[in-house]
Symmetry: C2
Subunit: 713 residues, 2 copies
């Protein structure tokens, strides 16, 4: 047979196409890449990539042909290999994290280095830290974090696992009173971990009436007041969820300890390499030291709880985690957009309907506005996410010092902003992956898209670490509180950006006129865009305040409205930060990059405005004329952005190895790679099957009536 | 250890919960089920279910733990088993299709019984049918349909595979001139089929100048005029794509025939059991009879093409297929909604924020409006899809007779409507699955949701059988043509519903006043709702006509607008058919079902209206007051629907075995089933791993440094 792979028609030659695309834009890709990711990040990426690419175990070529149990085995083997490489090369934490990023699967070790160690560090007493941290850092134990349960995820206060204080033996009894009390979903627990942080309801004996069972030595906390518990526990009362550190498996046999049932919860949408687990306790006794006691300790004598200090600092690290989620979301979205932009340039389909000549080539599909409207606003969104992610990091580090000094003022604002942004950004990225996939037509559905695994894994994000619809209620509650304060004290000194916004709003609302986003010359007025987003957010906050505080409407009745409020508020943050970055970037970036970024800003903002047009008109944020003009403005912005699309995605510097995508290859060899995956790498093609229904054989001449597979059913 | 599964707290007892839910509604589920699905369907479903459930090979319990190559093996084994069962029980086609539906995976035999046999029947000459149909019906050959290629999917005219007529030997030479000419994606081709219908560009020798190489004996066709081809083919000209039937594999060895390269294209998002394939030809000779020649035949003497009759009837069956897609979409959506509704009743999380008592139970999450707004409009949508699916079937059967008589008048309308609806309905279902999944929070991401496979498979639908964004262009082109005719001849007798709508619009547009959807008593006016949808569709059609015909704007510039037009037009069909069904159902259904269906109609329509509010105001379809009132109206409709939600999904009668969902079980034993899947059915839990990074073992004490898995990389 001839070598078909060398027969590429010039018009379908992806390498030529991407070369042409890159020549059509003057963006300095390396400069922009450094601006987005830093020179350090890029250097580290190259270095780690080279090492991983050199080890066969990290090869991604057969990953999609493995079963879920095989994927866990491989995941564990890779996690171990990375540990050995880290030690061999003396890599620091940043390099380790880069290896995880490029390995691109949720490692069975993941929780050890994140929630497990963080919880010990933040909630352990000094002696506890002295005891545990060396074991953690040497990886002589492997930990996980067991908070959520079969029956409770978001509602931490509803957790059912109990830790009952035995005042005689001075120890705790950990117990799962019901099936729904089973720990569930906890990563690294199912097959890997030797230890766990277990969050359980602390039960202390009820004090003789009149005597408190809890004392406070620090500031007031957010934790609940003691609550009566039912039935057999009648003589005990709950002091809310507390973290305990437990040995859960035998170090020699790796079997669960007596009284503990543990396992992996089974296949999921994604995370095939991760052993999300379950765990049940049957009256398991643990020593007093198991309770992490930096902020609360049970006194030996009385069995009372002494609270110490302010665990609010814990919310600080939650905020940091959410900042990371935004930065992660931008790279996930950038990855999907990279694939879509490159493939949609290489892919041609149909000649222009208005074409007069049979000799015209078929159009690149990225030249169709129906493809642009799906892909280019997402390209712009990846930059919007970036500048807000940076802003959140900065804010976090600034506030961190204030918080460490005992001033928890900035925490509420930071927590609210990060919650709303977590909800919005993970949704934008999760939906964005699928939008990109569909924009790629049929081949988008194939394994060569490189999006199958990314999608399956990322789909967890909208519901974990705070469900995207649930946490917006917290954002709205905060905004209502702030608006109430602003209404009640209009002259107070603004403490944060929300105060500033709300005070401005309250001063101007009586004479507000819906704005146009064009200035007198008919050009786009960027400040007017920012103003529109801020006005909508403030006005929706005021409506929520009216409904809840003034009209006293039931909370549940307002929930949908409050969710929209959180979204509007978060979009305002994205738009404001993107806009502010435009002023600071020109000095470091050469033309035309600053101009192109401005186009991205406008496209992101106006596409969003168009999608929520009726909320913008309802709130008098913009005029109807503005709304009606948007489709044409957006078409023009997309036309402006189009020539730079390939170089913009190049700047995100996602290595081909990580993309693992035939469609998204940086060299454009889309069809060659698709064919290679099918023809050379597909193990199914090495087997000859027997398709006749009368035959018992599945594989031709094997005498195997499907027995091999059936044995697994 | 105690038996944890028996420890269920009453408030988390799903069986009790669903019993209570069912008692709270007076809907007669069986009656509604018969109305939706017919008594025959339900009887057949019970019968086939019983047989499949009894055979181990159809067990779904381990499916998610199999690798993709294993899934193909299993798929083939099941396809064969179904053939044997069909013969053993003497099942007819309806029973066979029911078995496929319940088996719930794309069978490697799928194309044989669909596109392969349909194409032979519709495009084969009488002698060809006499020769092939007996072999097809006895399954002594297994066929597939090879149209789309690596480089071309939507644009059939751009296919690159050629079938060149050899005037000396009187045979065709099938050839793939470029890599992108490779047949691609074709189901059942990769490993299964022995025969294929191959669509190739027919190349005939260029006639001496002045003489035609094609004659017509029938009506004009939509097929292209001869087109010059390039380079080496200079002396030939293309007569467009034609279907050929080819033997592709040896019946004994099942190896591809000489000159043919075939294989499976590899893993995809879904369809793991299906061998989507690729195929390349290297100058393969086939006899003249290979070309299916009902509508076109090459004359032996001259090598000219004789076209006979009108292949438009082929578009008729395309329309029928699209009708089926709508009916399928409704069941897919119903399935996702069934799971979400049941689970969201059983799942409780948080007490009402306004609750005053610690003793209040946590709320069922379906009582949160933020969950309702995601799930209940989709529940309503499943019914909207149903009534339009029925309408399309009826229309198809009515028109079929007219078309068979040679009157192709109704075909354009039917084709347009079915294209727009395919795009809209598959999008609603695909997005709906994911919306339901997210509404279920964390557990929605688990394998116990039962949506993992459904989602992965169904995600193909928005891009296959006509890409959802591409085919809307055809709809818009049709509507522009119809509007042009209506403008040019305002008094013509309306030939179809579109004519009626456009004539009404043109008569009323000068004095249109935006409507309210409430009547004088403040009640919802259903006719006004229908009017609003129809007006928007007509007005957007008029705008498109203005832009394209009057202002002569470039087609590409209008594409986004035209896509929205198609959607608006299709939504108008859904709303109109749903509304019309309300008048005809009360006679057959007992109360409160007709009332509840009316609530579904209103919820679907007003939720849609709210989502596209600015298009409805822009077109003067409804007043701004209507728009601003919608959130409250929708909240009330959802509250009305809420008590009936469980019984409404029960009526869709999706068997538990098909749902394969812990969350969606009809008996509500959600937590018991989740635990059983994890604890008893998960093969990973039978293995003890060695998590220490220093150890070469993956499995404890195995001495296997992951070699088993690594060998597959």
């Amino acid at each position: 047979m001839p070598d078909f792979t060398s027969r590429i028609r010039p018009c379908y030659d992806g390498s030529l196409t991407l070369e042409t695309e890159r020549r059509s834009s003057d963006i300095d890709v390396e400069e922009l890449a450094c601006h987005l990711l830093s020179r350090d990040f890029l250097r580290r990426q190259r270095k780690v990539l080279q090492v991983l690419q050199g080890e066969h175990i990290f090869s991604k070529t057969q990953q999609m042909n493995l079963s879920r149990p095989e994927r866990y085995r491989l995941g564990l083997a890779r996690a171990k290999a990375i540990q050995r490489i880290v030690r061999r090369h003396g890599w620091d934490d940043d390099h380790y994290r880069m290896a995880e990023y490029l390995n691109d699967e949720m490692s069975p070790y993941h929780l050890h280095g994140t929630m497990f160690v963080t919880t010990i560090k933040e909630q352990g007493s000094e002696p506890q830290k002295a005891y545990w941290l060396p074991q953690i850092e040497s990886w002589s134990i492997i930990g996980c974090y067991a908070q959520s349960e079969l029956g409770h995820g978001s509602n931490v206060r509803g957790l059912e696992t109990v830790a009952k204080w035995d005042p005689v033996k001075k120890e705790f009894e950990i117990h799962s009173p019901h099936l729904t009390a089973s720990k569930w979903w906890n990563g690294s627990l199912g097959r890997t971990a030797t230890h766990a942080v277990v969050v359980a309801q602390l039960l202390l004996p009820r004090a003789p009436s009149g005597k408190p069972t809890a004392t406070r030595t620090g500031l007031p906390t957010a934790t609940a007041e003691p609550k009566r518990v039912t039935a057999a526990e009648e003589e005990f009362e709950s002091h809310g969820p507390q973290p305990f550190i437990l040995r859960i498996r035998d170090e020699r046999t790796h079997q669960p300890l007596p009284g503990i049932v543990i396992g992996d919860i089974g296949p999921k949408y994604g995370y095939a390499s991760m052993d999300n687990g379950y765990m049940l306790f049957n009256h398991v006794r643990v020593p007093k030291e198991a309770m992490l006691s930096r902020y609360a300790e049970v006194s030996d004598e009385m069995g009372t709880l002494n609270r110490k200090g302010h665990p609010a600092v814990v919310y600080g690290s939650l905020t940091f985690v959410r900042g990371q989620i935004i930065m992660h979301a931008r790279l996930v979205l950038a990855r999907a957009v990279t694939v879509a932009v490159r493939y949609c340039c290489v892919r041609r389909q149909f000649r222009d309907r208005d074409s007069r000549s049979e000799d015209d080539e078929e159009m690149k599909v990225l030249d169709y506005p129906t493809v642009q409207i799906r892909v280019l606003p997402l390209l712009a969104t990846s930059f919007a996410l970036h500048y807000t992610g940076e802003y959140m990091y900065k804010l976090y580090h600034q506030s961190r010092q204030t918080i460490e000094k005992g001033d928890f003022g900035p925490l509420a604002e930071l927590h609210s902003a990060s919650s709303g942004l977590k909800s919005l950004c993970t949704m934008l990225a999760a939906d964005g992956i699928e939008t990109c996939r569909r924009a790629m037509g049929g081949h988008g559905f194939g394994g060569g898209s490189g999006l199958v695994g990314l999608n399956a894994d990322y789909l967890s994000k909208p519901t974990v670490e705070g469900d995207n619809w649930m946490i917006t209620q917290q954002v709205a509650a905060y905004l209502i509180k702030k608006m109430t304060e602003a209404v009640e004290n209009r002259e107070a000194l603004p403490k944060d950006p929300t105060d500033e916004l709300f005070q401005f709003y309250l001063k101007s609302r009586s004479h507000r006129v819906p704005q146009s986003i064009a200035n007198e010359d008919g050009l786009i007025d960027d400040e007017a865009i920012v103003d529109a987003f801020r006005w909508r957010a403030a006005d929706l906050s005021y409506r929520a305040y009216q409904a809840r505080v003034v009209e006293q409407k039931p909370w549940t009745r307002l929930m949908i409205q409050l969710h929209s409020l959180s979204r509007a508020y978060s979009e305002q943050i994205l738009v404001t930060n993107f806009y502010n970055s435009l002023d600071s970037t020109p000095s470091t970036l050469s033309e035309p990059t600053p101009l192109v970024l401005r186009t991205c800003f406008r496209l992101y903002a106006l596409f969003t405005l168009d999608s929520f047009a009726s909320a913008f008109t309802l709130t008098n944020a913009v005029s109807s004329d503005t709304i009606y003009s948007l489709p044409d403005v957006i078409l023009e912005l997309m036309a402006d952005l189009r020539p730079h699309a390939v170089k913009l995605v190049d700047a995100w510097s996602i290595p081909d190895w990580l993309l693992d995508s035939a469609l998204g290859r940086s060299d454009g060899k889309v069809y060659e790679d698709l064919f290679d995956r099918a023809h050379r790498r597909n193990p199914l093609n090495r087997v000859t099957f027997d398709p006749r229904w009368e035959s018992e054989d599945i594989v031709l001449g094997s005498g195997d009536g499907g027995r091999q597979v059936l044995a697994k059913l």
